[in-house]
Amino acid sequence: MPHALVHEHLEDDVSRLVDNRGSNQAVDDGPHDPQDHLDAVPQQRHVRAREMAPLILTHYTVVSALGKGLSETYEALRNRRSGLRPCDFEDVGITTYIGRVDDVEDVFVDGGSTSAELERFDCRNNRLALLGLQQDGFIQAAIEARERYGAHRVAVILGSSTSGILETEHAYNRRNPATGALPSSYLTSHRYTHNMFSSAHFVRTYLGLRGPAMVISTACSSSAKAFATAARFIEAGFCDAAVVGGVDSLCLTILYGFASLELMSSGPCRPCDENRNGLTLGESAGFALLEKSKHAGRPGAVALLGYGESCDGYHMSHPHPEGTGAIKAMQAALLRSALIPGDIDYIHLHGTATRSNDSIEDTAVHSVFGPSTPCSSTKGWTGHTLGAAGVTGAVIAAMCLTRGFVPGTLNTTRIDPILSSHVMLDNREQPVRRVLSNSFGFGGNNCSLIFGTV
C-alpha cells in the first residue's frame, strides 16, 4: 500500500487553490512573491475561449549560419547573403551544402563560479545554445526577468529534434573493441548532452531559472510548439514568463538520414523553384523571453498573437497530400489570434525546398489565404535547422515587424508555375503588422505561429 497520503495542511492548500479558482474575485496577476507556495493559482481568463491575450517577446535573438544575433541576421537577409556552404562538417562524404555556424567549436561552456556544474553540459548542441544566449543581451534580460518574477516563476521551454546525439555518435566510434562498452566519460555525460532534456536543463541551469521546464521534440515543429506550450503555461498560471526557443546542431544522424531519404539537394536549396531538388541542412539556436503584455507591453512591442497546432495523421515522413493538417494549424492560429486571413501581411513559409513539401504547403497556404498574401522561405539563407526552425522563423518574423522588411526567397530563379500562392523572390521594404510563420515536421506534426506589434 502507498503511504498515508493525506497531510492536513497540504489538503488545506489545495482546497484554497481550488476555492480561488472557482471564485469570481479579481486575481492579481502581478509578479508573485517567490515565497508564496500557492503560486499556482490559475489566472483568471482575460479573453473569450479560444482567443489569447498577446504575449510580448520582450527580448529575442538567434544564431544561425547567417551570423550571431539580430544585426548580423538582418544584414545577411537584407543583403541576400546566404549562410550556406559546401559541406565541411567533420569527415562527412556527402555532396551537399550545409548551414554551419562558425566558431561553435570554440565556445567554452563555463559559468564562472558554477562552471563545474555547467562543464558537464559541454557538447556542440549546448555550445550553440550558449552562443545564442550570449547575443543581444539575452542573458541579462533573462536574469532581470528572474529577479522581477522570482526564479521559480520563469519557465524554460525549448524545442530540439536531435539534442546532443553527436556525442553518442562519437562515443560509438570509441567503443571498447573487446566488450563493445561505451567510454566511461560518455556514460557520465550522456544525461547532460544527448538526453532530450539536455538543452533546457543547460539553459535553466545557466540562467539560474527554477520554473517549469521541458524540451518539446516533435521534429521540425519542436521550437514553434514551445511557444504554444509556454503560452498555455503562462495562461494556466504555472509561470509568469518563459524563456522559449530551441536549438539543433549538425550531426551525422541528420546528414546521413536525410541523404537516405533522398531529400537533400546537392547544391544550396532553392525553395519553391521549379527545379528545386531538396533541402539543405543547417543549425541554429534561438530564444525569446515571453511575458504578459500587462507587464511588458509598450507601443510597437512584438507579441505572440496566436498559435495553431495539428497533425496530419497520414505518414511518418511525407505530409498529407492535400495539406489538411497544415490548413488546420494555420486556421487554428488565426482563430486563436482573432484574426482573419486578410489581416496577415506576410507568411514565413516552412519552405524546405523538397518537391512535395513546398507544393503541399503552397496548396495549404492558398486554400487559407488565397493568391495575394506575400509569402517566402528563408531556408536558402539558413538551411533547414529542424527543431530550431520554428524559433528561427519566429525571430525573423519579429525582425520583419520591427524593421519594416520582408525577405524574399534566396537561390530561387524561377518560381514553380504549379504554385498558386504569392511566393516572393525579392526582398521588400514595407510596413509589416502581422506575420504568420509555419513549421511542419516528421510524424506529420504542424505548428503555425502569428506575431504582430501591439
Binding site: M1, I165, G211, T218, G257, S260, M316, N445
Partner: protein
C-alpha cells in the same frame, strides 16, 4: 485546476492492464514480477506494427487501452506523449551504422529515430489531426506532461490523452541510462465531468518542499517508480485505484512539486 480521468491504460511488470493494475495498486492483490506480455498495439496496421519499434508499440498499446475504456473517439482527442529517452533501440542501430565505414542507414531507421515516432504512429493509426506534443524532462517527464496535458485541457477545452513510456536501452547505451524496467501508462483527461469518470483531479504547482513526495510502500512498485519516469505516475494511479480522496505529491524539478487532489467519481 480541475480535470477528470476518463480512461487508463498500463503496461509494466505485473501491471499488464488497468484492471489488473487497479487490484495491485489498491492493495487487493499482491504485486508480482512478471515480464509484461508483448504489447498488441492492435490498432496499428500489420505492416506498420511490424516496422514500428518496441517503445512505439508499448506507447500505442496503453493509449489504445485508455481510449477503448472511455469509448472515446481518437479523432477528437489531442495527445501529449512523454518519453525521457525516446527511441533508444533505433538510436543504437543508427549510431552503430554511423560508426561503420559505409555509414549506411535506411530511410525507415532514420524516420523511426525521431522522439515523436509514437505520436506519428498514433496519428497514422487513428487518422487524428488533433495537436500532439511530445516532450522530455528526464525523470520528470511524466510530471511535465501532466502539466502540459492539464493546461491543454483547461485552455484549449479539448480532451487530452497523456501517454508516458520508456523502455530500458539496449547495451551499450543501457550503461548510460540504466532504467530498471519498462513501463507505459496512458490517461485520458477531460475538462468536464462525464458518467464514465474514474477520478477527479484538482491540480496545482507548488514550491513547498516541507513534505516528502508521495512514493509507493510496496518495495517492488517503489523500485519501478523510482527507476522509470513513466512509472512516476504510479502514486497517482494508486490513488485512483483505491477510490479514496487522496493528496498526491509528485516531484517535478528540484523544488517544484505537482500536487493532485484525487477524488473518486
Amino acid at each position: 485546476m480541475t480535470l477528470y480521468v476518463n480512461g487508463i491504460g498500463t503496461l509494466g511488470p505485473g501491471l499488464a492492464d488497468w484492471a489488473g493494475s487497479r487490484a495491485v495498486l489498491a492493495g487487493k492483490s499482491p504485486s508480482y514480477d512478471a515480464l509484461p506480455t508483448e504489447p498488441s498495439a492492435s490498432l496499428l496496421p500489420p505492416n506498420e506494427r511490424r516496422r514500428s519499434s518496441e517503445s512505439v508499440r508499448w506507447a500505442l498499446h496503453v493509449a489504445q487501452e485508455a481510449m477503448q475504456q472511455a469509448e472515446a473517439d481518437a479523432r477528437e482527442v489531442a495527445t501529449v506523449f512523454a518519453s525521457s529517452d525516446g527511441e533508444t533501440g533505433v538510436l543504437d542501430r543508427l549510431c552503430t551504422a554511423l560508426a561503420a565505414p559505409q555509414r549506411t542507414i535506411s530511410p525507415t531507421l532514420f524516420h523511426h529515430s525521431v522522439h515523436n515516432a509514437a505520436s506519428g504512429y498514433w496519428g497514422i493509426a487513428t487518422g487524428s489531426q488533433q495537436s500532439s506534443t511530445v516532450l522530455a524532462c528526464y525523470d520528470s517527464s511524466f510530471c511535465a506532461a501532466l502539466l502540459e496535458a492539464a493546461a491543454y485541457v483547461q485552455i484549449e477545452e479539448r480532451s487530452v490523452l497523456l501517454v508516458a513510456y520508456d523502455l530500458p536501452s539496449p547495451p551499450p547505451l543501457y550503461a548510460a541510462r540504466p532504467l530498471r524496467g519498462g513501463f507505459a501508462a496512458a490517461l485520458l483527461l477531460t475538462r468536464n465531468p462525464a458518467p464514465r469518470n474514474l477520478a477527479q483531479f484538482d491540480l496545482a504547482l507548488s514550491t513547498d518542499h516541507s513534505q516528502e513526495a508521495t512514493n509507493m510502500d510496496d518495495a517492488r512498485l517503489e523500485a519501478l517508480r523510482s527507476g522509470n519516469q513513466a512509472a512516476r505516475s504510479l502514486p497517482l494511479l494508486a490513488a485512483i485505484a483505491r477510490q479514496r480522496s487522496t493528496l498526491v505529491r509528485l516531484e517535478y524539478l528540484e523544488d517544484q512539486y505537482v500536487l493532485i487532489r484525487v477524488r473518486p467519481c
